[in-house]
Structures are given as structure tokens and as C-alpha cells.
């Protein structure tokens, strides 16, 4: 007889919403687990309070992380997470505000908001789970889809060069920019742990494998094969240079922390300006 055993992270999960809608073989669960482990570590070390964490998620498979975690979580329309999170951070500056979304949610429809949050060095942790495709809507091209790839809306091949999120984030003044991969959960957990301690904007791009949708387009639908294909493309580096952030499906991807500085974030700048005005 099977005995229900509680998972050590269950306390951070809205178990009543399970099972998740993620497909068998999807790696978003690994991303969520790595994130919860990093959060748990910080809470246990007394560096973070559970009632001071807010998740904001939009629309898409990975945005549903916000739906499954048991913290304050707000869901909103496709692409509109960052401005909503910005307002929460301004009014609840003691909160760690975490935005989760996919490449389509944050880089395409929410691209303008991303750009301005980066420019502001807004005190948010933005996690972009990049599966290089629109998964939930059935396999359309995304800003990070590799060049020439077949998708349902580019049936003759993708004519667009994909976006290098790392280069974009580094060029606009974020404090912390890193790339992780769902195929390397321990490194991912370390990156999340670090990012949770940052002021200003921390952006983490997480490469993920999507056997059901992206896999179908590249001809690898077996979950293990799909996972291994991505894993073989990953190179781990300590403090990689910006040039090594090159985003190319053929050449593979370098994961690691690309930028880690400690400039004042938006909230610091704002409170400094308001201090003289209000006297507090």
C-alpha cells in the first residue's frame, strides 16, 4: 500500500492546486524546486522572511509557478508582471518580489516593461524560464527560438535572429545577471540563492527543455533525450565574460553569473529622494 509522504518543500506549495498542468517530461518543476530550495535555505538562515515574499506571474507555462507556490502571489495578464511587481515593491519595500515567466511572457509581449525595469535597476528578481518556444499555445515562434527552426507560425523556418537576454540585461544596468539551466539544478539553486540576496534588479535566464512542444519541432520528443540534448549543450563557467553569453542553439550555451555588482537600486534612490521631503 502506498503511503503518502510529505515532501520537505510541501510547506511552500499550494498542494490543493496539484497536479500541475505541466506536461510529463517538462523541466519547469526542476526550476520551481531549485527556487524553493534556495528560498528555504535563506529562510532557515534567517535572511528572508516567508511572509515577505511575493510572487508575480503572468501567462504561460512557467508563469504558473506563481500559482503553485504558497506565498503571497498575484497573477496577471500576459506580459504585465513587471509593472505590477514594481508597484508592489514600491509600497512593500521589505518584500522580496519575484517575477516568474517565460521567454514569450517577459521578452516578447512584456519586452518594453523588461527594458525599463532593467534601466531602473528595479529591485525585483526576474526569472525567465526560456524553453525557446510558446508552449502553452502550442508551439509558435518566440523571441528566443533558434534561427531557421520550424514552428507552427514559421512553417518555413524562423527568419529571425534570437534575443540574447543576457546581453540585453547587462547593457541596461541590472545588478545581477545570470544564466542557469534546468539540466543543472544545483548550480541553478546557487544562482537563485545569490540572486535572492541582491538589491536592484536580478535577472536569471533559465534554459529549460520542453519535450512536448519544442521537442516536437526539433524531432526529439522523448523526455530523457530532450533533457540530455540540452544538457550536452551546456558549458558551466565561473564568471563567464559577456562574449561567452552568445545565444546559439548549434554552438551551445554557457551558464554562470555574468554580472554581479551592488549599485543602488530604484528603491534606494527613491527613498533617498523622499527622505529629505518627508523626514523619514
Amino acid at each position: 500500500m502506498a503511503v503518502a509522504v510529505e515532501h520537505p518543500l510541501d510547506k511552500y506549495v499550494r498542494t490543493e492546486k496539484l497536479p500541475t498542468l505541466w506536461c510529463p517530461g517538462c523541466t519547469i518543476g526542476i526550476v520551481m524546486t531549485s527556487l524553493l530550495r534556495a528560498i528555504d535555505q535563506r529562510i532557515r538562515e534567517g535572511l528572508l522572511r516567508r511572509d515577505q515574499i511575493t510572487f508575480v506571474g503572468g501567462i504561460g507555462c512557467s508563469a504558473r509557478i506563481a500559482m503553485y507556490v504558497r506565498f503571497d502571489s498575484v497573477r496577471t495578464a500576459h506580459g504585465r508582471t513587471i509593472p505590477l511587481a514594481t508597484a508592489i515593491k514600491i509600497l512593500r519595500p521589505e518584500h522580496k518580489v519575484i517575477v516568474v515567466g517565460g521567454d514569450g511572457d517577459i521578452c516578447a509581449i512584456g519586452g518594453n516593461h523588461l527594458l525599463h525595469a532593467l534601466r531602473r535597476n528595479m529591485d525585483l528578481m526576474i526569472i525567465i524560464v526560456n524553453n525557446m518556444i510558446y508552449g502553452m499555445t502550442g508551439g509558435q515562434v518566440s523571441p528566443t527560438t533558434p534561427l531557421k527552426l520550424y514552428t507552427t507560425t514559421t512553417p518555413y523556418g524562423n527568419p529571425e535572429k534570437p534575443l540574447n537576454i543576457i546581453r540585453l540585461a547587462c547593457s541596461l544596468g541590472a545588478n545581477f545577471v545570470a544564466r542557469g539551466s534546468a539540466t543543472h539544478p544545483h548550480i541553478l539553486q546557487q544562482i537563485f540563492y545569490k540572486a535572492l540576496g541582491k538589491r536592484g534588479l536580478a535577472l536569471i535566464e533559465v534554459l529549460s527543455s520542453c519535450p512536448e512542444i519544442f521537442g516536437r519541432h526539433i524531432g526529439i520528443t522523448d523526455p530523457v533525450k530532450s533533457f540530455m540534448t540540452l544538457r550536452d549543450k551546456i558549458k558551466v563557467k565561473n564568471n563567464p565574460s559577456l562574449d561567452e553569453s552568445e545565444y546559439d542553439w548549434e554552438k551551445g550555451f554557457v551558464i554562470g553569473v555574468y554580472l554581479d555588482k551592488d549599485d543602488p537600486g530604484y528603491i534606494d534612490n527613491l527613498s533617498l529622494l523622499y527622505k529629505s521631503l518627508r523626514g523619514f
Binding site: 502571489s73 497573477r75 509600497l91 518584500h95 518594453n112 518627508r278
Partner: protein, 374 residues
């Protein structure tokens, strides 16, 4: 209590502060920007925040985010900006997020004449967002009403947990007038935190369909759901849950029509109101001038000015129009809101008098157009 000589836009800003505004997010657009600019100077001094975002989409979502920290939040915009905001308003309707949008209409469509007036967007304010659930719309016709209705807009949004539109236009925005400004304590300010107290105490509002609101920071498990959800806030894609949710959100507003519907009735000393002009917003100024002329010939004209465009209290319409022969609806557009009135007063002659004018509609033109029907 004090009397100030201020513009319609300034009155909105003053009333927002009196209502306890904590957060304003916006994007500059004529003719609404001076609300933004005044608040940008005033609000931070009082502990609030005023932030300019990258566009109107960001602005409305920032307002939603702010509201979910239980802070009173608003934005101000005009037609093209509101067009971008409608996506977020639908999210606010579904998530039952209190917020206020000051919508200062200008001449459209497209970029139209940005500095001039019109009443083209009445339907957009009421119905412009996906989902088919209209939200309360208040329409002031002078700075004093702009002040009073802004306070009403905030109270309504808080108590019914809904977005509310304050629909003004370029003429009222720049119209100066004496405004009686009431200080905090002299006006009733409702906060969503006091819904439960009001519910127990009993009040004029119908609160059966309003749920208590818990905010970010109140504990660690508030969850804001944009998908169709049941009473426990869990996503349920079933017809049954969809019906219950839709009707509750609809009833929440419509069942408060008696509290929400504001109007003023002017019979200019006539014993009988044979001919009635229905109007709203800045066009009221032109209409009251036109009626002075029309009443010279003992035509017995009265004016029914609407200050609430949604929801309407039909009973008052029936009462006021019982002995009326002809009803004229004067608007500064191609004849829009007249359709709403026709759907209520189905057994009356409801005549549309559309006078498109970049300034106030010319009273002489109104007189001429009305006389064609006498």
C-alpha cells in the same frame, strides 16, 4: 472646509488626496497630464508615490499592483491611453481590484484633436474591455462635481472592489470654478478594510456579492486569480462556476444602482416638464444656456443631467419622464448614450441631438436643432 477657485483637473487631484490616495501611476497625455503633475508634487509630501511608467499598459498594472497592497491607487488618462488600459481593466474586474481611472476625454478618434473636447468615449469607458461586465462610470459637468464624484469614485471602488471610471473631458479639465473643498473628517471616506464593519452594522450598500479583500503583506498566502475561479479562489473551468462568477460580478454593481446613480433635475420654474433634455458632462453648460432661450416661448423645457452613466436607476428615469412628451438627448458625439436611454424609455420619443463641437456645443445650434422637432 474651504473654497478654492480651481480647474476640473485640479479638483480631481484634490479629491483624490482627500480620499486617501497613496499611489498614482501614469503616462503623460493631454488633457489629463496636469492631474499627474499636481499629484507628483503634492503626494510624495504626504507619504504617497507618483511614478511615471513606460506606457499606459504599465501604468494600469502598476495601479493594480499597488491596490493589492491595500493602498488606494489611481491613474489618469485620455482616449488613446485608455485604449491601452482596457486590457488591465478587465484583469481588475476579474480580480476585483479597487482602483480609479480619471478619463479626460478629448476629440477623437485616433489622435484626433488632443487639446479639444468631445464625448466620444462614453461607451468605451463603460464597456470597452473584454468580458462584458460594465463598471461604474461617473461623469462630472463642472469642477465641483469633479471633486465630489472623485470622492464617490474612490468610495465606490473600495466598497465594491471594482475599477471605477471618472469620465471628464477637456472642457471640464480646463474649466475654472469655485469648489468647496472638504477636509478629511468632513467627508465620508470608505476603506476596503471597513467592509466587514459596514456589513455587520448595515448600510445603504448591498454587500452580499462583495468578498473581504486580503492584501500582499497580510500573511503569506493571498492569491490573486485571473482565471475563472470559484468562491475559494480556485480555477474551475466549468459552466456552473463561470455563471456564478459572472452573475456575482454583475450583481455587485447593478444591485447598488440606487446608491450609485446620481443626477440633477432642473425645471427652471416650469410647472410642467413637457420637453426634457437629457445630457451629461461639459455639454450641460451649453444645454442650460439653450434651455433659457427655449423656455422664452413657454415650451416648458426641463433638464435631466446625468452624473452617473453606469449603473442607471431606471426607476428615476420612469418617474422623471412620466408626464414628458418629448425627450432630447444632447451629446457632443454622433449620438451614443442616447441608445442607452432609448433602451430604458421604450415607449417615449427619444430624439438624438448630436452637436459635434471642438469647444462647448454652440447653444444656438442646440436651440435650432431642438426646434426642428417642436
Amino acid at each position: 472646509m474651504r473654497i478654492d477657485y480651481i480647474s476640473g483637473n485640479r479638483a480631481i487631484a484634490e479629491a483624490a488626496i482627500a480620499s486617501g490616495l497613496k499611489f498614482f501611476a501614469g503616462y503623460p497625455i493631454t488633457p489629463s497630464s496636469d492631474i499627474f503633475e499636481y499629484l507628483a508634487e503634492e503626494l510624495p509630501r504626504r507619504g504617497g508615490y507618483v511614478i511615471q511608467f513606460e506606457d499606459e499598459l504599465a501604468s494600469i498594472y502598476a495601479v493594480i499592483g499597488a491596490s493589492w497592497t491595500c493602498s488606494k491607487a489611481m491613474t489618469a488618462t485620455s482616449g488613446p491611453g485608455f485604449s491601452l488600459m482596457v486590457e488591465g481593466i478587465s484583469i481588475a474586474v476579474m480580480t476585483e481590484t479597487p482602483l480609479v481611472i480619471a478619463y479626460i476625454m478629448r476629440a477623437g478618434p485616433a489622435t484626433g484633436v488632443p487639446t479639444k473636447t468631445g464625448q466620444y468615449d462614453v461607451f468605451q469607458a463603460e464597456y470597452g474591455f473584454h468580458g462584458g461586465l460594465p463598471i461604474p462610470v461617473f461623469a462630472p459637468s463642472n469642477p465641483q462635481e469633479a471633486y465630489d464624484l472623485t470622492i464617490k469614485a474612490f468610495n465606490t471602488s473600495e466598497i465594491l472592489r471594482t475599477p471605477v471610471v471618472l469620465l471628464s473631458d477637456a472642457s471640464i479639465a480646463n474649466m475654472f470654478g469655485k469648489v468647496l473643498i472638504r477636509e478629511a473628517g468632513e467627508i465620508e471616506i470608505i476603506d476596503r478594510r471597513s467592509i466587514e464593519i459596514l456589513r455587520k452594522k448595515g448600510c445603504e450598500w448591498s454587500l452580499d456579492d462583495v468578498y473581504e479583500m486580503k492584501c500582499v503583506g497580510d500573511g503569506y498566502d493571498i492569491y490573486v486569480e485571473t482565471l475563472t475561479h470559484d468562491e475559494k479562489n480556485i480555477y474551475r473551468p466549468t459552466t456552473d462556476v463561470q455563471r456564478r462568477l459572472m452573475w456575482r460580478l454583475y450583481r455587485k454593481i447593478i444591485n447598488n444602482r440606487e446608491v450609485l446613480f446620481e443626477y440633477s433635475f432642473h425645471n427652471y420654474g416650469n410647472k410642467r416638464c413637457r420637453n426634457m433634455i437629457i445630457t451629461y458632462g461639459s455639454t450641460f453648460s451649453s444645454v442650460s444656456e439653450a434651455v433659457r432661450e427655449l423656455n422664452k416661448n413657454e415650451e416648458d423645457f426641463c433638464v435631466f443631467k446625468l452624473k452617473t452613466l453606469y449603473p442607471i436607476n431606471e426607476k428615476i428615469f420612469y418617474e422623471k419622464t412620466r408626464d414628458v412628451d418629448k425627450i432630447f438627448v444632447v451629446e457632443n458625439n454622433v449620438g451614443l448614450y442616447v441608445k442607452e436611454i432609448r433602451s430604458i424609455l421604450r415607449d417615449k420619443d427619444v430624439i438624438s441631438i448630436s452637436v459635434i463641437d471642438l469647444e462647448y456645443p454652440d447653444p444656438d445650434e442646440i436651440v435650432e436643432r431642438v426646434r426642428e422637432w417642436l
